[in-house]
Amino acid sequence: MENYIIEMLHITKEFPGIIANDDITLQLRKGEIHALLGENGAGKSTLMSVLFGLYQAEKGEIKKNGEVVKINNPNDANSLGIGMVHQHFKLVEIFTVLENIILGVEPNKMGFLQKKEARDKVISLSKKYGLQVDPDAYIEKISVGMQQRVEILKMLYRDNDILIFDEPTAVLTPQEIDELMDIMRGFAKEGKSILFITHKLNEIMSVADRCTVLRKGKCIGTVDIKNTTKEELSKMMVGRDISFTVDKKEIATGDVVLSVHNVTVPSKTSKKNAVKNVSFEVKAGEIVCLAGIEGNGQTELVAALTGLDKLSKGEITLAGKDITKASIRNRSKTGMSHIPEDRHKYGLVLDYSLEDNIVLQRYWQTEFQKNGFIKRPAVRSYADKLIEQYDVRSGQGALSTTRSMSGGNQQKAIIARELDKKHELLVAVQPTRGLDVGAIEFIHKQLIGNRDQGKGVLLISLELDEVMNVSDRILVMYEGEIVGELDPKTTTVQELGLYMSGAKRNVGKESGHAE
């Protein structure tokens, strides 16, 4: 019999109305990188929460080194050497790196903090594993990549040897992802065991030894990465074949739909400008992608384009009309559709029903209201039509509360609303963020379909696959400027990465210096 460091045997976890984990067995060998693959809602997070002591399973048992253990809370997990890097970091923003690392296990003498001791340990750990951090920097001031290193150091500081990474690459640049992969390999070599939760197949293929696939709460199987392919994994995950290449017709551009001229947007957090003198155009029938690492001014640029925020300089023209100072409603009327970055904050009123959300941009039109009274039957039939057309799934159809819907279906509802609305330009900000491959495929098809109908599409994305596959033209943003214009057909991911990290530029350098 093989030796497993952690075994989760026949785990069943039910929530009211849903079986999140149904008889799942997961066995982790010592020193391996074990990927846990599954769509959103497949039960990955639930399973890891059971292992981490956040939930108790109704059935099944957990063994460590062959002995049954009971994990009632994260402290139990911690004392068994299990550590977790959560998808959303659990850091105290106004504390320093060091304070965050020792939080909960503060070394003390008679109640007085012994920071020196802790600092030495953190520094030696960070040297040993190549995890560069500044112990005295405040969390709110450091990059997302460094925050993640802090999370990793937290686990190491607690001498954990079973490390759970919950979708760790979602927030990283290609270069940072490579670094993380190296760090993970280093841990495995040291004999630490890694559970790696993801739905990105490339990463699994490059770093994992074995992979367990979950689908709809059930365990589909565990495979050796050596003996499998990306296609096979995705089929296991989704239950059908997924095409990775996006089929696109030849590009047929028309008139300029959106013209952005010398736009400057002030930053909210500092005195600098978040967007500096940016100019570009989007034509009808093309997908222009704004690529870049998070926090390089894309969010602020979109806020200025869509009217959520004011710009300090420059002009924006939409379909021939100057909309620089237009209200959000007027931009919408002029022909702007907007899939917002944060679908919970901006895209949906989560406590409203699906039908109320579907008419969120149109409830004021005479189609849906008369003398200020909402025409309920018209709203209902319109919502039903879009739900059918875009395959939005929910518990109670048009009347479901959107809060109760899955992320993918929430996004589908937003896409249905924005695409069905009369528009010339679609601004789609990270439309596939956090979604599974099935939903991503669907959304990409919709974006391309929209382009083929002769609309202009401005796609803002952090996902390199998306940038490369979907767009017709790539604009790279770095520190508030457009530093590169690339053709996805002729460029490579590596080159794109260089532009994104500011190492290379081919646009606006001279003019930038001249000013």
């Binding site: 959000i328 901006y346 409203y352 969120l360 209201q369």
Partner: protein, 380 residues
């Protein structure tokens, strides 16, 4: 038979039902604690006294309706603003302003009896509107927290009204430190219940509650208002005018409170030749704060607010009767406060209760059709 159970189920499933049952549970809890207080205060008469608190209101139906009217209006005011995510703690100030405007028109603008009281009521509405508008516009244009401005406007309104009343010799009788009796033409027509001040204002208030309910649920304005209350970012994204809606909501909330003030002061007197009076003694009207409790207990729902206002008024009247059994008015106030306080836990109770019901139902569903579920899972 089957039909009957089905319809019962569909009723128990509604949100309103679970809110209602939660409110009842919370009220029961409040009553128990109120009773405990009474036992401690005066054990001998506690049962009889509690009986009066509970049922005394039924013998004074007219008074219950009369005292319910102003707190129904302030409750609607607080609840309505709450739907948009605004906390209108300035209801008292708006109420006082409404009262003053109504008094002023009542004393200073002689008019035929048929319309005088109506004009007074409208004046009250305008007074409240103004006092809601100012915090509203400060919030909308300068993002000044409406809680702070409206608290300050409670004081500003109260002192301003006291000053204006005391400075007006037609309105104020300084020897009695109260306003003079209003002319009969300015008093709202009575409902005709003997020995009570009950008047048609309660009917107007209930109609207003129903109109508010329709506004909130059937109109684009209500749609925008609730959307803003649930998620102001999404409402901004959808192009709704946050500023306009904030001002409008505060104006409406102010108008409702102002009407409450007008209804209270314009109520007909049971003694011919007299009227309700206002005493400018530098005290903030309690009706505004009671409105918060009323709105909480009614889940900020206009229809729910009708019932919670009547309930709180009912307990209050019962309490007054209980004082005849030797309970000091202060103790009665404590008992009523305890009941209201615990009843307001309804909000918390509601969440817990809804969860409980939901779990029960889902468990039942699971056991009812397990094969169905598994089949579905396999197919998918």
């Amino acid at each position: 038979m089957q039909n009957k159970t089905f319809s019962l189920k569909s009723i128990t499933k509604t949100k309103g039902f679970s809110s209602f049952t939660a409110a009842l549970l919370a009220i029961a809890l409040g009553l128990i604690f109120g009773f405990i207080v009474m036992v401690f205060a005066l054990p001998g008469n506690s049962l009889a006294g509690f009986g009066r608190v509970l049922f005394g209101g039924f013998t004074r139906l007219g008074d219950v309706l009369y005292f319910a009217t102003p707190i129904l209006m302030t409750g609607l005011s607080v609840g309505f603003a709450f739907k948009m995510g605004l906390f209108n703690i300035g209801s008292s100030g708006q109420y006082t302003m409404g009262m003053f405007f109504a008094l002023y028109v009542g004393f200073m603008w002689p008019m035929p009896a048929s319309i005088h009281w109506l004009v007074c009521v409208l004046a009250g509405l305008i007074g409240g509107m103004i006092w809601g508008f100012i915090p509203g516009i400060l919030k909308a244009l300068f993002n000044v927290n409406e809680v702070i401005t409206s608290i300050m406007f409670n004081y500003i309104g109260m002192y301003l009204v006291d000053m204006l009343v005391q400075g007006n010799s037609t309105m104020y009788i300084s020897t009695k430190t109260r306003t003079a009796y209003l002319p009969a033409s300015a008093q709202i027509p009575s409902l005709g219940i003997p020995y009570s001040n009950a008047n048609i204002a309660i009917i107007i208030a209930i109609v207003i509650a129903i109109l508010l309910h329709i506004t909130l649920n059937k109109t684009t304005f209500g749609y925008e208002l609730k959307a803003t209350g649930f998620n102001k970012f999404a409402s901004k994204y959808a192009g709704m005018s946050d500023k306009r809606n904030t001002i409008l909501t505060m104006v409406i909330a102010g108008a409702l409170s102002g009407l409450g003030g007008a209804f209270a002061i314009l109520a007909p007197s049971t003694i011919a030749g007299s009227s309700m009076t206002y005493e400018p003694i530098s005290v903030i009207a309690s009706a505004g704060f009671n409105g918060i409790a009323v709105a909480l207990l009614g889940f900020a729902n206009p229809i729910g607010t009708i019932f919670s206002a009547i309930f709180i008024s009912h307990i209050g009247r019962g309490g007054t009767l209980a004082s005849l059994l030797g309970y000091k008015p202060e103790i009665i106030d404590v008992v009523i406060a305890v009941i209201i306080y615990f009843s307001s836990f309804a909000l918390i109770m509601n969440a817990a209760f809804a969860r409980f019901i939901k779990q029960r139902r889902e468990k039942k569903l699971d056991t009812n059709q397990p094969t169905d579920n598994i089949k579905k899972g396999k197919e998918a």
